[in-house]
């Protein structure tokens, strides 16, 4: 067998690593527009799914989205106003938090009076498939539908993700995922943190637009 000197090995590895790195960064740069378009498309699909548009043709999504949804911004908070197929107005707000292994996020559709959840979609970066990863499934997200965010006195109570429903008289409890305590808590935490801010932002913007409307009338 041929003998290789240390210098040879060193140069050999360096050359290969540089060649490989160049090739990979070239590929990443060339393919980035496609990847970003896919991610954007998926976000739109998630917002539409949260607002209960189901089983849309993938190619139709950008068109449908631009037709029924408008994005608004108050401070740092984005939200989307979506007209549903049965002619109602829903507000879809993004939420983001921490799971067990990485970020989790979702889109929550709120009724026009901002009191009830009309739909939800969750997604995750790296939760365990079959355990925490189940938050992305319909079975979990559909259990949020119809839950109320406020008690009778109008205090924000958020949605509790619980092991066993003890007392659901306030209609704000959903079943946690078995084997995924930390991910379930993450979902509860991000709703508790993000929803009040989003609701305030939507209220602020609707008041603002009402003022504008009365001003233009005058």
């Amino acid at each position: 067998m041929r003998k290789f000197s240390n210098t040879y090995i060193f140069i050999y590895i360096t050359v290969i690593v540089v060649a490989v790195a160049t090739l990979l960064s070239l590929a990443a740069t060339l393919l980035r527009p496609y990847r970003e378009a896919n991610i954007k498309n998926e976000t739109m699909a998630q917002i539409l799914t949260a607002a209960n548009y189901i089983h849309q043709d993938k190619k139709e999504i950008p068109h449908l989205f631009s037709e029924v949804a408008t994005e608004s911004e108050v401070g740092d908070i984005h939200f989307f106003s979506v007209n549903t197929s049965d002619g109602r107005l829903l507000y879809v707000v993004p939420v983001a938090g921490k799971g067990l292994w990485g970020p989790i996020w979702g889109y929550i559709a709120l009724s026009e009076d901002l009191k009830t959840v009309e739909g939800a979609v969750f997604s995750h970066k790296s939760e365990t498939p079959g355990l925490g990863g189940e938050i992305a499934k319909d079975a979990f997200s559909s259990s949020f539908k119809g839950k109320s965010l406020f008690d009778e006195e109008g205090n924000f109570i958020s949605i509790k993700v619980v092991k066993t429903k003890t007392d659901d008289s306030r209609n704000n409890e959903v079943d946690a995922l078995s084997g995924a305590t930390i991910t379930s808590r993450g979902v509860e935490e991000m709703l508790y943190r993000c929803l009040p801010e989003a609701i305030k932002a939507i209220q602020a913007s609707t008041i603002q637009s009402q003022i504008q409307q009365t001003q233009t009338k005058e």
Partner: protein, 205 residues
Amino acid sequence: MMQLKKYLGPLNRNNPITIQILGVCSALAGTAQLKPAVVMCISVAVVCAFSNFVISLLRNTIPPRVRIIVQLLIVATFVILVDQVLQAFFYEISKMLSVFVGLIITNCIIMGRLEAFALANRPLPSAIDGLANGIGYGLVLIIIATVRELLGSGTLWNYRIIPETFYQNGYINNGLMVLPPMALIIIGVIVWIQRSANKELQEEY
């Protein structure tokens, strides 16, 4: 003729999954449906063929002391390229396969072929050997995925095969088929059938 037989070994008598029992992990994870299984099979075959080809081209220049590192580099490069292409053009499927595309790097079949074949053979035979092993792996994956999707979801390639009337009359999908343990049982059944058909594969006790 002998040559051809040697290359076709991985498809049956020397199948990487059922005979060498390699790459079982990804065979369990990616086979709940036919579509991701086929994509997984193509990805592995492509990575295996190309890395075998490149390593074989470089085989006389690779210092033996760092050969595993060089092999890993080449395999990782092709896996990342495949992953990027999937993310760009087959986004849904790439999400379904999630980490398992990245884990092709650790698929023992590929490293095994590099060590056992590509380091000692010329580029073209090496590429064919890689492709044949990838296809041999893929064949088993496709058989498993067909059984699992048909019995677990009643569909094939997302088209409904078991008609609605069956469900109305009380037919229920086998939920266990969707979960990874069932893939292991199916592999076991395939190994059993293959060994009872080929007496020379049976081991003496």
